[in-house]
Amino acid sequence: MRPLPDMAGADAPFWQGLRAREVRVQRCGNCGAYRFPAARYCPHCRSDQSQWVAVAPTGTVETWCVFHRAYFDDLPVPYTVLQVRLDCGVRLFSNPLGIEAGALRIGLAVEAAFDDVAPEVTLLKFKSRRA
């Protein structure tokens, strides 16, 4: 079994959003800062007011690495993990979809690629953004 997310956990709105082809994260009801994964309190202003909102599905690559040692069954190596900062400021780990290894660089503009990996599960991956 490949590792799958907890669809029913605190991040359920995020995973449901991906099914609907949206990137949804928590937005603080007091200061407006975005955050993900889910947390009761805003780490900037400590407010407990928040809602899940769709954000622009765009961001930039901050760095990446390539796994050669396998840690999970059914995730064959090598595979690449990206660190992406969404334009709303939220950071994510993810995988590239259709980006050639040689094309990766810091600051590469990327956009969401919704990858249906199981009947009920969509992962948020990233492809190069066209200018």
Partner: protein, 378 residues
């Protein structure tokens, strides 16, 4: 006004390192503590403060060791806590909460089957397996991400990481206690397999069993003990814990700078006065980040600095003369502090740094620590 920072390390001890399946973390800790007390010329009854690290339970440890200290505490098994414990012990001594403190570390991770990636990994995954669906896991990958970023920003190369690994292995070759003592070439390094690219197997620390203990006491008392006291001339800490599920943009440069400033101000010395470095080497890139953050190199210059040989014995800043985590033993900072003490004592034999007046222990992590050891109290 009492003199600050007058605490001294008066005893160090450790177990054999390697695979020790017949010992649990408690037994490894007690073995090391027995060695450290013998080194200090002190008895169990002299201990009135105890901090255990990576040992699962302080009460059980005291029961096993027959200890009733006035002060006791326990800290989690993360490498950043060795520096925290040492600085805390110095502060406790200064404030009179305890006079003679034992710091005891036991790690049976090798025989206990501890895993640092995949299910059960909490460090490199951002906690709770949040990123497992994307295959993100392990402290090694976390550092591989930082290494790649450093390469892209500054032109750091894999050979720079290799130079760190090779230099530290050459030091381990002079240390009979080290687990890995066979020197290797840069070609061997390049040929070693990738674990998480850009990092090779030889960029990763060991995983082995062992225990370490340090005995600290007040400066006045230290002078009456058999070993030359090694004083904590200065220490400083700073953190970057907010947002720390992800690698920091600045390679922890800001907190390292703060920690360095505090420690050097307290010690009353400059970087140029330092004789040797003990750098927390969980992965080779951490050594480079530390050189920059703690002020031994300008940002981006650490790779060429290491490749030029400045970290080798006989060069300007001999680093990890014991072999560090990469080659001596994965004792999460503790064994590097033992080596710092032994270097200041002048007790390192073949691998002794000449005229070793000051040693700086550096640890780069979400908690950064700088400790300066010296022969005289400040």
């Amino acid at each position: 006004m009492p003199k600050l920072l007058s605490a001294a390390v008066v005893g160090v001890g450790h177990t054999r390192y390697g695979k020790l399946p017949e010992y649990d973390a408690y037994a490894l800790g007690l073995w090391a503590l027995t060695e450290a007390l013998a080194d200090a010329g002190l008895a169990f009854a002299d201990i009135d403060g105890l901090i255990v690290n990576r040992i699962p339970d302080y009460q059980r440890f005291c029961e096993i060791a027959g200890l009733d200290p006035s002060y006791v505490s326990i800290t989690p098994g993360q490498g950043r806590f060795s520096g925290i414990c040492i600085a805390t012990a110095a502060a406790l001594i200064r404030d009179g909460l305890a006079r003679t403190i034992a710091l005891v570390y036991g790690n049976n991770g090798r025989s206990g089957g501890d895993r640092y990636g995949g299910a059960g990994d909490t460090y490199g995954s951002g906690g709770g397996g949040q990123w497992f669906p994307y295959g993100m896991t392990s402290p090694g990958a976390f550092h591989a991400l930082m290494a790649r970023r450093h390469m892209e920003l500054y032109g750091t190369t894999p050979d720079h990481f290799g130079a760190v690994a090779q230099t530290i292995r050459a030091h381990a070759a002079l240390n009979p206690a080290a687990v890995m003592r066979e020197p290797f070439t840069l070609a061997d390094y390049r040929a070693s397999r990738f674990i998480c690219e850009p990092l090779h197997l030889l960029d990763y620390c060991l995983i082995n069993d062992g225990g370490v203990a340090l005995i600290l006491t007040a400066g006045e008392r230290a002078r009456d003990l058999p070993r030359p006291p090694v004083y904590l001339r200065g220490y400083g800490m700073a953190t970057a814990l907010a947002g720390s599920s992800f690698p920091p943009d600045d390679f922890w440069r800001a907190p390292m700078g703060k920690a360095a400033d505090k420690s050097f101000a307290a010690a009353g010395i400059k970087h140029a006065d330092v004789s040797a470095l003990m750098i927390y080497d969980n992965f080779t890139p951490t050594v480079l980040f530390s050189l920059e953050g703690f002020g031994y190199c300008a940002p981006g210059e650490s790779g060429p600095f290491a490749a030029a040989g400045h970290l080798a014995l006989g060069a300007r800043y001999p680093a990890n003369t014991s072999g560090g985590h990469l080659s001596e033993s994965y004792m999460q900072g503790w064994a590097l502090n033992v080596e710092a003490v032994r270097q200041v004592r002048g007790a390192c034999g073949e691998r002794q740094v000449k005229d070793c007046a000051f040693v700086n222990y550096l640890a780069a992590a979400p908690v950064c620590t700088s400790i300066i050891y010296g022969r005289e109290p400040s």
